[in-house]
């Protein structure tokens, strides 16, 4: 079936079976490989994208449910909050293997959009669906706080 998706600000048309996970469409059809496959059951967060601004697990999101919505992937981040988060991530040397990090960043941006000054508990609660096996958590928290400070300044 042919679908029209708005992704990173552009309309893209593609063919996919109904029910195809959005993750496959993004990676295999649209060649946006910054979004990663981790577990396939929405339990690790590596595939996190924004659907209408909200962090969403693309591995369990059927392609048809994204029609008419605005999809943003790590490649399409282009706003002050995202820039602050990406910069804070570098400043705090968060990344180790990097595989989960685009998902972490997508969630962190989503968090700061909803809550510009999150507390430790709010960060824990919002980010706990994004696992990092290198366990860069200390720095993820620090980077979110730094981004929050930067945006407030």
């Amino acid at each position: 079936m042919e679908y029209q998706l708005k992704i990173n600000g552009r309309m893209r048309s593609l063919n996919a079976e109904p029910g195809t996970p959005l993750l496959w469409v993004i990676r295999d059809e649209l060649a946006l490989t910054g979004t990663k496959f981790g577990c396939g059951v929405a339990s690790c967060g590596a595939c996190t994208i924004h659907l209408n601004g909200n962090p969403t697990r693309s591995c369990i999101t059927p392609v048809e449910s994204a029609v008419g919505g605005e999809i943003t992937t790590i490649e399409g981040l282009d706003d002050p909050i995202s820039a602050a988060v990406q910069s804070a991530w570098r400043e705090k040397d968060v990344v180790q293997c990097g595989y989960c990090q685009s998902g972490q960043i997508m969630s962190a941006v989503g968090l700061l959009r909803q809550n510009p000054r999150p507390s430790d508990e709010q960060i824990d609660s919002f980010m706990s669906g994004n696992v990092c096996r290198c366990a860069t958590y200390v720095r993820i928290k620090d980077a979110i706080k730094l981004a929050s400070d930067t945006l407030e300044a």
Partner: protein, 783 residues
């Protein structure tokens, strides 16, 4: 070339070469989604996708294998069975025992039987489901204690002896014995196993594999294809996590992809879905450990008999070396005057367990750390006093059970420093007071040390190579035999080369690890990646520096000793210089080679396994951690409240990277000991087979107070810039969490009972230990 690139003579910034907290070499790519992993590489035209069919019984035989439904399934282009393999069929990395595909005997649930290549991944996975594998099933052997009793071993047992342990124990004033089960661990690298095989000329193959050991993948792919090693090239830019899980476990999937590519004549990608990766790949070995110890009234060890038994699964894989390393670390940081250590390698009907950060060391350390706590309860002293009393010391108390002398012993000083900086004694008093006031919640505190031996215990693996090219615009391409899995190896090696050539790290491009650039490499493992490859790269850089120096000296008519490399400039006098790029062009125009290899092998190490004596380790990396926990004695639930770490990385090559390894290693170790529980059902099928039923630490599990300090001391051995390895040692700092949990539980019996607490110490096990402690305390009349 005829026309050289224009060069600038800008003074470069070399402030973030060796020793500086320079950012990860791919940081910018990682935060924008532009860092490529194997699954992100643009696929060749017509690439097929593979899936693997496996047995779902743990032990038995295949009676009939009917793949007709698989072959006729939509999109299927090729099916691979055992008989289709032209070369070797056993991919065991050291010893045989790992058939790539089985046509007869099944030894674990998840054992590959066939593989399929189809037009799409979905079609491949659907086709696999249409196989009819009719098996005759037998009751699997899953109990490690039963395997030990029946002497079902994958490899012979090994012993280390010094003095007369039996006599020392028998004559000791106090004696104890105990046993423990230490759980295994799923690697859960976020990027699962993946390989892309691309057919090349002459029957050769180009393999993109997420592997810690490209050379072994190269060799095994060549062997299964039945071609010389030189026709296979393996390319590995970065892994999305390895942790030991891609040391041997990456190879089978590369071999299957290559065989299917050979069979179909097309590129084949094999990426294991998580639900296949978890049952089909090896994990950290569960261990069953025992001790019998004799000690004096102060708690000083006099003799010990220690047995460590690895549950190896169905085949040897790396279990010889892993159980050896458990034995090498079953003393951890403590001197045992008379000692006997035995290590067994039990066969069970599970997937073959494998390397995982620490490589058996953590499991070995657990038994002696248990003993330290148990001694403390027996003699009524603080466990920290018992640990300090038993540390390796000066002459007469500095010999390990394998007869290596512990030199440059930092732990007594390091522990004293941490004891003060963490306020251990004050907090002990505060916790005692707090526990007296709280009936349900109890706090616990523990300081545990780590002494971890650095070097592969298989001597020949302690070598490395590097390759550096300088181009005529002054840009440098760097390649070495190590692989990047997030540990910051490439960042550190890049800094080392920048420092050696006095150029900006930005001038250097580090490229994918490739078997055609640096051959015959060792796995990136044993924490030794930087020690080995960093030194090899430095040697290559020194060769090039010498060549350029000689060329400039000749052209400028000065002595070669007068040439200095500083801040991107090459000086031939105090105030005359040219840029590094100009020097490179001068060398090129004067026909001086600007490409060099570098090589390194670790000095001083040897080990005679026959007599179990030698110096297997070049040096030891040290550290200590203080953890504080609070447990709920009604539910067994707990929190890690505070962690203070002091760790020895020698002279840090990159404090940002080193601290990251310490933070991450600790939390991963904490997961191993607390929440991560591997479960097999009675039929031998792994039921902890997804992140939904296997709990790795999340951000919310990070302790609220988490302080990491580096112990500032250069490595006294001649390592690269006197640094120390950092990948594995911090993992074992997490033993302090387990010890603190036992401390909290022991508080219920006024520290007169030493509760058994197998790991992972889940809330269920903590609650069980609380109940048992209260029972024992009542019997002793302690409360």
């Amino acid at each position: 070339m005829r026309n050289l690139a224009p060069v600038t003579d800008a003074i470069c910034k070399t402030t973030d070469s060796a020793g500086a907290p320079r950012a990860h070499e791919s940081a910018a790519k990682h935060v924008s989604g532009k860092a490529f992993y194997v699954d992100d590489i643009i696929e060749p035209r017509g690439t097929l996708y593979a899936a693997v069919g496996y047995a779902d019984i743990a032990r038995g035989h295949i009676r009939t294998l009917d793949l007709s439904g698989v072959r006729s399934s939509e999109g299927v282009v090729g099916v691979l069975e055992l008989d289709d393999i032209p070369g070797i069929t056993d991919v065991g990395p050291v010893f045989p025992g790992d058939p790539l595909l089985s046509a007869d005997e099944i030894r674990y649930a998840g054992q590959p039987v066939f593989a399929v290549a189809a037009q799409t991944e979905l079609q491949a996975r659907q086709a696999v489901k249409r196989a009819v594998i009719d098996c005759e099933s037998r009751a699997p052997l899953l109990d490690v204690e039963k395997a030990l009793n029946e002497k079902q071993f994958v490899r012979p047992s090994h012993s280390m002896r010094r003095g007369d342990a039996r006599k020392a124990i028998t004559e000791a004033p106090l004696r104890l014995e105990a046993q423990q089960h230490v759980g295994g661990q799923e690697h859960f690298y976020l990027e699962g196993q993946v390989s892309l095989a691309v057919p090349a000329e002459d029957g050769g193959m180009l393999i993109y594999s997420s592997t810690q050991h490209p050379s072994e993948v190269q060799k095994l792919v060549a062997e299964v294809l039945g071609i010389p090693v030189n026709r296979v090239t393996v390319d590995m830019r970065r892994m999305g996590g390895g942790f030991g899980g891609k040391e041997t476990q990456a190879a089978p999937w590369a071999c299957l992809a290559a065989l299917l590519a050979r069979k179909t004549g097309r590129a084949v990608k094999l990426r294991l879905p998580r639900c296949d990766d978890m049952p089909m790949t090896g994990k950290r070995h569960p261990f069953f450990n025992r001790y019998e110890i004799g000690f004096d009234l102060q708690g000083r060890l006099l003799g010990a008999e220690i047995t460590v038994t690895g549950n190896c699964g169905h085949s040897p894989d790396l279990s010889d070396a892993i159980v050896d390393r458990a034995m090498f670390h079953s003393d951890n940081a403590y001197f045992i005057p008379d000692v006997a250590i035995d290590g067994h390698r039990c066969m069970t009907n599970t997937v073959s367990h494998t390397a995982f950060r620490g490589f058996g060391g953590p499991q070995g350390m657990m038994i002696i750390e248990r003993a330290m706590d148990d001694i403390a309860r027996a003699v009524g002293r603080d466990p920290l006093d018992i640990r300090k009393l038993n540390l390796y010391g000066t002459k007469g108390r500095d010999l390990t059970p394998y007869h290596q002398q512990v030199e440059h012993n930092l732990l007594p000083e390091l522990i004293d420093q941490l004891e003060r900086s963490s306020r251990y004694r004050e907090r002990r008093a505060e916790i005692t007071a707090w526990n007296a006031k709280n009936r349900v919640l109890k706090r616990g505190l523990a300081l545990t040390p780590v002494k971890f031996g650095i070097s592969f215990t298989l001597q020949h693996l302690n070598q490395a190579g590097a390759l550096i090219h300088i181009y005529t615009d002054g840009s440098i391409q760097l390649n070495h035999g190590g692989t990047e899995m997030g540990q910051g190896l490439h960042t550190k090696v890049l800094q080392i080369v920048a420092e050696t050539l006095a150029v900006s790290p930005d001038q250097i491009e580090i490229t994918a690890t490739r078997t055609d650039k640096v051959p015959n490499t060792s796995p990136t493992a044993a924490s030794s990646g930087t020690d080995l490859n960093g030194q090899a790269a430095r040697n290559a850089a020194l060769t090039l520096k010498q060549r350029i120096s000689e060329c400039v000296a000749e052209q400028k008519q000065v002595a070669v000793e007068a040439i200095r490399f500083t801040s991107g400039q090459v000086f031939w006098s105090d105030n005359e210089s040219m840029s590094f790029a100009e020097a490179a062009q001068l060398a090129y125009l004067n026909r001086v080679s600007l490409s060099a290899t570098g090589y390194y092998r670790t000095p001083k190490i040897w080990y005679d396994r026959e007599s179990a004596k030698g110096r297997p380790f070049f040096y030891f990396a040290n550290g200590a951690a203080v953890s504080e926990v609070v447990i709920d004695t009604l539910t067994g639930e707990y929190r890690v409240l505070a962690v203070d770490i002091l760790h020895d990385v020698g002279r840090s090559l990159n404090p940002a990277v080193d601290r990251g390894q310490i933070e991450g290693g600790f939390i991963q170790g904490m997961g191993w000991l607390t929440t991560e529980e591997l479960k097999w059902n009675a039929e031998g099928v792994l039921i902890s087979n997804s992140p939904a039923n296997y709990k790795i630490p999340a951000v919310s599990d990070t302790p609220a107070h988490f302080r990491v300090d580096l112990f500032k001391r250069d490595n006294e051995e001649e390592t690269v810039y006197n640094s120390k390895a950092v990948g594995e040692p911090p993992f074992m700092l997490a033993i302090s969490v387990w010890s603190a949990l036992r401390d909290a539980i022991a508080s219920l019996a006024d520290y007169r009972v030493s509760p058994a607490l197998d790991t992972p110490a889940t809330p269920e096990r903590v609650l069980g230990a609380v109940t048992e402690t209260r029972k024992q305390a009542a019997e002793k009349g302690a409360i």
